[in-house]
């Protein structure tokens, strides 16, 4: 509750700060300070301190899982702002507004992570989506950015329609918006309920870019200003995933036999399409877009397995994936050439940045001693123990192996190719230190995953 209110408040504050303050550095500092405060009040709530209690009639409920997830989201956003907030200046003039939109999105994530009613879910998803349409099109003079924004808006509206239709059908079947009520089994299962459930599943799948609802992702991620792609691909995606798992855990647990196989099929399709298409990309940015689809496939395993193990796995996966991807994007934003060739000889020009980028890539590929390995391990373990389908975890493993090929292409370019042009890249010391700290964190979580997971219980 603390974070929900403060993030909305911070959004408003940021909007007005653009009018009052002229210095972009000041605006940025307010945003980063606000982000820290957000993280702080959220952690305080985990320890039991709630500043303002609002009676939501049980439509919102912050439990430990939601709070820990929010902490990860806020921490990742904090890192994202420290690394990349400076780069937003290049996108356009409305600097303060971009930051305001980011806070509104966080408000939406706080809502979807804690919903108990489908109304709140819908509200949260829309609060997340609309600022994203704007951010995608924020590079107003760039045609690609405009096109991406429009595409995203059209397809997003389509998915919003699906969601509304789904909610309506479920209300028709059950007469309630509350997830606990929907989950209750009384009498025969109405086809209305199943149809509504599937429609909700499709719209959620769209938001987290699960195949075959992923088509918007490469185009939008590629067209949007890179600094916002980073935000969309990591924090927003992870944030919607918690809504996904919560919806199926609390709303449709009793219908498990009806959706388990379909989720399995979607997972397999996502893993296949994401990984295989990523192999052939020529631009690192587009490769990362497909990689984010592939990683969504892994995260979907947690919905599929649906056990305490898989929730732990999702927490870890969200943290590992966000940290590594934010790190890579932070470096990518600084590059002038987004193709693989743009990374040629990077290790010689920027040994430190190349080294940390390598750590992030290893984590994404799931190589041991990185957080990504532990996250994949937990996911696949959960999927093995809680299902009858053995082919799915095996497919996931094979696809993890395929993913090595495209992640390592970047490492190969950095370390084993010669650069044709001298580097023009300049970074501040603070940027370096933050990246190194981030890489250290990735390795630390790869060795002691319980540092994070213990928070779930104590």
């Amino acid at each position: 509750m603390n974070a929900l209110l403060l993030s909305a408040l911070m959004g408003v504050v940021m909007m007005f700060s653009g009018i009052v303050l002229k210095s972009k550095a000041a605006i940025r500092n307010i945003a980063i300070a606000g982000m820290l405060a957000l993280l702080l009040v959220n952690i305080l709530e985990m320890n039991g301190t709630v500043f303002l209690v609002i009676d939501s009639k049980g439509m919102i409920g912050f439990d430990r899982f939601a709070l820990l997830f929010n902490s990860i989201i806020f921490f990742s956003t904090f890192l994202y702002l420290t690394l990349s907030a400076r780069d937003m200046e290049k996108v356009g003039v409305n600097y303060a507004e971009y930051l305001a939109l980011i806070f509104f999105i966080l408000c939406g994530i706080a809502l979807v992570s804690s919903f108990r009613s489908l109304i709140i879910l819908f509200l949260g998803i829309e609060i997340i989506s609309i600022p994203l349409y704007i951010l995608t099109g924020s590079d107003k003079l760039n045609l690609k950015s405009n096109e991406a924004s429009l595409k995203y808006f059209l397809l997003g509206s389509f998915s919003t329609g699906l969601m509304l239709m789904g909610i309506a059908l479920i209300y028709g079947a059950k007469g309630t918006f509350y997830t606990s009520g929907i989950n209750m089994v009384n009498g025969a299962i109405s086809p209305l309920l199943i149809a509504g459930m599937l429609l909700l599943m499709f719209s959620m799948a769209f938001k987290v870019s699960v195949a075959p609802f992923h088509f918007w992702t490469p185009d939008v991620y590629d067209g949007a200003p890179t600094v916002f792609t980073s935000f969309m691909a990591t924090i927003v995606k992870a944030g919607v995933f918690i809504a996904f798992i919560r919806l199926f855990d609390e709303g449709f647990a009793s219908q498990q036999p009806k959706w388990k196989l379909i989720i399995a099929i979607l997972t397999a399709a996502t893993l296949l399409i994401g990984n295989i298409t990523a192999v052939f990309q020529q631009s690192v940015k587009r490769m990362l877009a497909y990689s984010s689809i592939a990683q969504a496939g892994f995260m979907l395993l947690s919905v599929y397995a649906m056990s305490p193990d898989s929730k732990e796995g999702l927490i870890l996966y969200a943290a590992a994936y966000c940290m590594a991807t934010i790190g890579i994007f932070a470096v990518l934003i600084k590059m002038s050439d987004y193709t693989f060739d743009g990374f040629n000889g990077f290790a010689k020009q920027q040994p430190l940045l190349a080294a940390v980028t390598t750590i992030f890539l290893l984590s994404l590929a799931g190589i041991p001693l990185t957080a990504g390995f532990m996250a994949k391990f937990y996911m696949i373990k959960a999927a093995m123990y809680n299902s009858g389908l053995l082919w799915l975890p095996i497919l996931a493993l094979v696809m993890a192996a395929v993913s090595v090929s495209y992640y390592f292409r970047v490492i190969q370019a950095m370390y084993f190719r010669e650069s044709s042009t001298p580097s023009t890249l300049t970074v501040t010391p603070a940027f370096r230190y933050t990246l190194v700290a981030l890489a250290a964190l990735v390795v630390l979580l790869g060795i002691f995953p319980n540092l994070l997971l213990a928070w779930l219980y104590f």
Binding site: K151, F158, F206, F215, I273, V279
Partner: protein
Amino acid sequence: MENVLQIVWLIPFLPLLGFLVNGLGRKYMPKAMVSIVGCGVILASFLMSIWVFIHVREGGGYVADYFNFIVVDKLKIPFALQVDELSSLFLMIITGVGFLIHVYSTAYMHEEKPEHFGRYFAYLNLFVFSMLLLVMGANYVIMFIGWEGVGLCSYLLIGYWFKNVAFNKAANKAFVMNRIGDLAFLIAIFWIIAKVGNANYADVIAFAKAGKFGASDITVITLLLFVGATGKSAQIPLYTWLPDAMAGPTPVSALIHAATMVTAGIYMIARSNALYSLSDLTMHVVTYVGLATAILAATIAVQQNDIKKVLAYSTVSQLGYMFMALGLGAYSAAVFHVMTHAFFKALLFLGSGSVIHAMSGEQDIRNMGGLGKKLKITSFTFLMGCIAIAGIPPFSGFFSKDAILLSAFEENKALYAVALLGALLTAFYMFRLFFITFTGKFRGTEDQAHHVHESPLSMTLPLIILAVLALAGGWVGIPEVFMKGGDKLSAFLSPVIPVKEGESPGHSTELALMAISTIAVLAVIAFSWFRFRGYQRKGEAQGLAKVLENKWYVDELYEKIIVKPLQQFGSFLNDVFERSVVDGLVNGVGRAVSYSSRQLRLLQSGQVGSYVLLMVLSMLLIFVLQFFLRK
């Protein structure tokens, strides 16, 4: 009450600390400092070992469990150290002899640069740490860690003078041969874990005693463990690395390749005696491999001219005796021989080091002679070592060798006869070595003659101490014939190694056997005195002597039947199998992925309309699947 033995972790930890200090500070610390740290930590461990030994004697063994090293599902491998009768005895040998050799090294390695001097002591400390871990571990996994550690240190120290290509090759050979044995050991550990559920000695022994192992399981496990032991302890067929390992500095040969590391295999089998006693087949294999090694190595030693090579083959031969004892079920006799052998073989190696030092690096005994006059302490202590290894009462070697011969006699008279022959060969080649080296006329160059000098005190003092031990070290195991309750060692070890049941051949037979062996040995010594006192260099050896000098051509044989075919097989795999099959498969998968990648890419047309169409079609498919295809 917390057991005071809880702090035994300090014993291996101190040498580890020494390794870190010497290893990290080797560029900054003067030699004196390195020496003090290197020797000091071992001395501290030695004192603690004595303390532990006394505690164990009074209060029995203890397992100190520190933390869980590996936890996977139900399998728990604790990091636990065990001090009991067997391990505390080995602790004393390792740290005691180890300390003397460290002190000796400070003088022997004096001419090295400070940096390499530090590196040497760091390796040596690391070796002691690994060896202590090996004998102190309370389960096979910890033992294996130590096992690998000593193998690594052995490799590093054989190749200590890494600029010499031949030395590096010797180090590689030792490493590879050890790896073959290690693999078998590792498989045995997995096998044990699969059957028992963990690798703790206590549980494994209880499991074995309860008769829960299948007959074939126990045979395979013990045979695999034995293969592991043949690698580390240089038995047929994996023995050829040990003579080559003499490339390392001489104190290293004394510590690692005579007194401690090579006895790890004997320790392992003695530790697993409850398993071995269950498999007659394995016991026979161990006995005959041990005997064959003992005889083969002894015959080779007869014709070697490198002072260290003679000792190396002698070590292989003595290790063969120990394995024979193990195979006969005389575990405590084997451990007894490990102990006495550690004393006299360390003494002989250090003595040879002193000779080499005096001769400015010369190792060929044909170029020595008459050194007894100039190297008084060295020659006298070397003689003590020779008498001990030859087995003349009351020297230590007599008692331990006698215990082994006696158990051979009980098993089989022919076995005894062959073993006795080996013992006579031992006496022969040792005194050949002694007479050629220390008596007669000097055969080296003028320069060498001028340079020959006795070694400094830090080298001769360890020699003197070891000589005393070589004389008196066997008195802890005096047979019943001479003294009631004289065999203190077997009694001490009895909680770990049950005393062998069975009728003894009777005191008169025992005395007769001792008399026979002693008289025969004396006769052989006399023979070699007449043969070698006025040794003159001869031409090329002929016939059998040539075969022996060339070590039965075993290295060449291995080269022909193992290395060459393996290389051919390897090039076949490389040229044919890998090119066409593996590459084809791997590239095929790669090509399939990149092909489908290109095709899938076409779906991404950029047209919103086609995206919506694809999405709606998939949704319809799922609805059909949900409502019509599933019941």
